[in-house]
């Protein structure tokens, strides 16, 4: 049974099991046959782009790093991550010198095969038997598309949906406020936020950006103190002897009494800012920021303030590199080669751009696969770009491109169903809120050595997808079963919080 057209076939076929359920095959009760989706309207939404603000600040979402390249990818914004970008056709005729063309195309082909081979081997619930690599990828995209549309439909009438639709507009507004407060450009503020985002939830991410910009703005003439030197020395000593010297040589370039203004290198500046914050700012608290910009203290379950923690010196230095000067290629370089960070920047700076940038994180992958997974899960790694061989010539890593295309396709389907254009980033932020409030931390538990799910919700998801793959239940039942076993979508904590 294929999931490739589950949400596109006529309603009369949509919910009919092709084979009866086996007793005890799935843990938990079989859900009732879900209501069929509304029939697809004939009219395709063809609205013009609603707002081009910020489009001129976009960057490419994939950055080739091959030394055979004939061009500088930071000088253009057209390199988009997607299924097409994973294939040899992504190499243009003039991208590399003619003598390197065949080798480069072969390398891209190997990278693509590697990514799809991983899909065939590690995603048994997607039927990729006896189909081409391109068709296998298509089936994967369609499966994820159907899950995305399913999650959207589950929350489409929720009162918080519109706020979640506007999540990136809220982030754009926060970047604009940072820009005004600190005398930097809007795109520099967006780049600071994006560069500090790896492994941080949004609330900590925004707080770190505010801390960095505040110290940079208010302490240019502040001198390095002995306490700050101790923090920096501590950072050096955290390294093993093998790499310690690489950081120590930067710390040796900083002396007591030096001011932040005296440092031109972003690495020196990063050391100063982190050391100043940790040595002289006892307030480690941060706030929860709702999609509408409402702020409340971030607290633990015990009611204590949560503490913010800096990321690596490299990430802080990347944020500061974006502030060195405001040319777009510099902003682009500061963002590195990670699809997620680059897409996040684009979504913040140009939320209504028609280019279809998609920020795919752990939660976005949980939506697309409808499985409760933490950041250690294989599927998360594969989706985020660490699975499969990457291509230096295209800059495409793992199967991020398939996830991005699934959200783009999902946005098209939802736009048709809703008779209003929704952008991929809007579909992503709504379903992101939905899945975050459906799968709980305990649902994601896995066995220490086998990495198999140990919680009922995780096991149900695994079993339901396998059952659907082999025709024992329809894919629609698998989705509904997982949804119900997880307890459905809870209202986000931020919804209804007042500004008071």
């Amino acid at each position: 049974m294929s999931d490739s057209n589950a949400l596109r076939v006529p309603a009369t076929r949509w919910a009919q099991p092709q084979m009866p359920l086996q007793p005890n095959m799935l843990r938990g009760p079989m859900p009732a046959v879900p209501a069929a989706p509304p029939p697809a309207p004939a009219r395709v939404i063809a609205e013009p782009p609603r707002d081009l603000a910020g489009v001129e600040h976009r960057v490419s979402t994939r950055i080739p790093t091959s030394k055979r390249l004939n061009y500088d990818p930071h000088e253009m914004a057209a390199l988009q991550i997607g299924h097409d970008a994973m294939q040899p056709g992504a190499i243009g005729g003039n991208d590399v010198a003619p003598e390197h063309h065949e080798t480069t195309r072969n390398n891209v082909e190997k990278s693509y095969r590697s990514a799809i081979n991983t899909l065939r081997v590690r995603y048994p619930h997607i039927n990729t038997t006896n189909v081409s690599d391109a068709e296998a990828a298509e089936r994967m995209i369609n499966h994820m598309h159907n899950n995305i549309v399913f999650m959207w439909n589950k929350v489409r009438n929720e009162p918080w949906r519109d706020a979640a639709v506007d999540w990136y507009r809220g982030a754009n507004k926060i970047a604009k406020e940072l820009s005004s407060q600190h005398g930097i450009s809007h795109r520099q503020a967006a780049a600071v936020v994006a560069n500090l985002s790896p492994q941080k939830d949004w609330d900590q991410n925004a707080n770190l950006a505010e801390r960095l910009l505040k110290i940079r703005g208010e302490h240019q003439a502040t001198a390095v103190t002995p306490e700050m030197m101790r923090v920096m020395q501590g950072l050096v000593e955290q390294r093993t002897p093998k790499t310690r010297e690489a950081l120590a040589r930067y710390v040796r370039g900083i002396k007591e009494g030096d001011t932040l203004a005296s440092f031109a290198d972003p690495i020196h500046q990063a050391l100063f800012i982190r050391a100043h914050d940790e040595a002289h700012n006892p307030d480690r608290s941060f706030q929860v920021i709702s999609p509408t910009g409402k702020r409340t203290p971030a607290r633990t379950k015990a009611g204590e303030d949560r503490s913010v923690a800096w990321g690596s010196i490299g990430e802080i230095a990347s944020a500061l590199q974006a502030l060195q000067h405001d040319e777009l290629p510099n902003i682009s370089r500061s963002l590195g080669g990670n699809h997620k960070v680059r897409s996040f920047y684009n979504n913040i700076i140009a939320p209504d751009a028609p280019h279809g940038d998609v920020t795919a994180d752990t939660h976005a992958i949980n939506v697309a696969l409808m499985r409760p997974m933490g950041s250690k899960a294989f599927y998360v790694a594969h989706g985020l770009g660490t699975g499969g061989r990457g291509s230096n010539a295209t800059g495409a890593i793992g199967i991020y491109g398939l996830y991005a295309d699934a959200y783009r396709r999902g946005a098209r389907t939802i736009s048709e169903l809703e008779q209003r254009r929704y952008l991929p980033r809007e579909v992503q932020s709504v379903t992101w809120e939905a899945i975050r409030n459906m799968f709980e931390r305990q649902h994601k538990a896995v066995h220490e050595t086998t990495l198999e799910p140990t919680h009922q919700v995780g096991r149900t998801a695994r079993d339901a997808w396998n059952a659907a793959r082999y025709g024992l239940i329809p894919f629609e039942h698998a989705r509904e079963l997982i949804y119900r076993t997880a307890g459905g979508v809870k209202t986000p904590a931020w919804h209804g919080v007042s500004n008071a």
């Binding site: 790093t65 030394k67 081997v121 690596s312 963002l335 250690k376 998360v380 699975g387 010539a393």
Partner: protein, 64 residues
Amino acid sequence: MPDDDVDWARLAEMDPTVRMMREAGLPMTRENYIDLNWGGEAPKPWNEEAEMSLPGPFQISHGG
């Protein structure tokens, strides 16, 4: 990613930790990158979001 194809100078422009490695003459290895970038603050247990924040040439390939 085949390392012989990587433009490390371009990567160093995009990643301050790679720049520090080049300046110090450190071998371009995954282990060196993780140690220099995070030191004792490397995520424990190591997780895939951390993995994805590594430059492509340092990421572990899960592919066949």
